[in-house]
């Protein structure tokens, strides 16, 4: 009996732990955007994304053609809505995906990739 209780406790702990991780994980949308060659022209992207209530932080990288928006906890944004914002700003999304990373982590990754080139 004691053995079974220990097993149940372990399963519960693991379950709660994974629930906790998914509930509080940082979620961002990371996209590759085509045509983004000028900061003045691309301002519309950052302005529109920053205006979203779901948006915690926005990052635009001209050289790597990357746009990323970090979402606030418990907030969601569909890829369709994200793509429409980019298109209304005058650009095309080549690829967009949800990533479990903060904007700071995405920036760091790009910096590391740059230094390796």
């Amino acid at each position: 009996m004691k053995k079974y209780l220990s097993l149940i406790a372990l399963i519960l702990t693991i379950s709660l732990s994974s629930f906790s991780n998914s509930a509080f994980a940082v979620t961002s949308i990371r996209a590759e955007v085509k045509g983004m060659v000028c900061a003045f022209c691309a301002k519309g992207i950052s302005k529109k994304l920053n205006a979203l209530s779901q948006s915690k932080e926005v990052f635009v990288d001209l050289k790597n053609r990357v746009v990323a928006v970090e979402l606030k906890d418990q907030q969601t944004l569909t890829l369709d809505n994200f793509n429409k914002i980019i298109q209304d700003a005058g650009y095309d999304v080549a690829k967009a995906e949800f990533v479990e990373k903060s904007v700071a982590e995405i920036k760091a990754e790009l910096t590391v990739a740059e230094t390796k080139k």
Partner: protein, 213 residues
């Protein structure tokens, strides 16, 4: 320099907005200013859609000897006809035109003027190229205009940094000037502003700016 040449050089500046990106993103306002001894212009438009913008402009023009002046008030319409978004470049085909009233001290009364034009531009983070053709037509007035611009950035910058460019512009105005105006300019681009300054081959200082909000 003749009066007509001076006035022609001034009128060429009239189409500046088509050379520097004639509209912003959807729901944005664009303000533009263009200042030189013979030219003072204020222009504003609003992007109703990602492709269309409506605006107004007011322009004062003066010949070098200050004997001729003209004032033009105009309602403008800008349309992005086609955009090509490439991984590291962007190209655009624009329509930009207006309808307004022009007054001058070298003719009587006010005249209705129409200014339809097209522009093609191509830009990467390091090079820029644009050609513009625009008609300036009123009764007994024909100031059709052509321009070409090319330039390069000194280095790449991040989104938050200011990027300096060298731009060389050549342009002509039919019916008012036989001279081709050549203007080398320093352009500074930031996410919040766009400014250009230079001196043309008539030794006239030029300063242009744009702001989007």
């Amino acid at each position: 320099m003749s009066k007509n040449t001076s006035l022609g050089a001034a009128l060429m500046l009239f189409a500046l907005e088509t050379n520097a990106g004639p509209m912003g993103f959807k729901d944005s306002w664009m303000i533009m200013g263009d200042f030189s001894p013979n030219w003072r212009e204020a222009f504003i438009n609003y992007a109703l859609t990602p492709l269309d913008a409506l605006g107004v402009s007011a322009t004062y023009m003066r010949s070098d000897d200050e004997t001729k002046t003209r004032q033009l008030g105009e309602i403008t319409y800008t349309r992005l006809l086609k955009r090509w978004n490439m991984p590291d470049a962007q190209a655009n085909l624009w329509f930009a035109g207006g309808v307004g009233i022009i007054n001058g001290d070298d003719f009587d009364g006010a005249k209705a003027m129409v200014t339809p034009g097209i522009q093609f531009d191509y830009e990467t983070r390091r090079i820029y190229f644009a050609v513009t053709e625009r008609l300036y037509r009123a009764k007994d007035l024909n100031h059709d205009y052509s321009s070409g611009r090319a330039g390069f950035s000194f280095y790449e910058t991040s989104f938050e940094e200011t990027q300096p460019w060298f731009i060389l512009e050549a342009r002509r105005m039919n019916g008012l000037s036989d001279k081709t105006e050549i203007t080398p300019m320093l352009r500074l681009i930031n996410q919040n502003y766009f400014i250009e300054a230079g001196v043309n081959n008539s030794s006239q200082f030029r300063f242009n700016f744009m702001y989007i909000f």
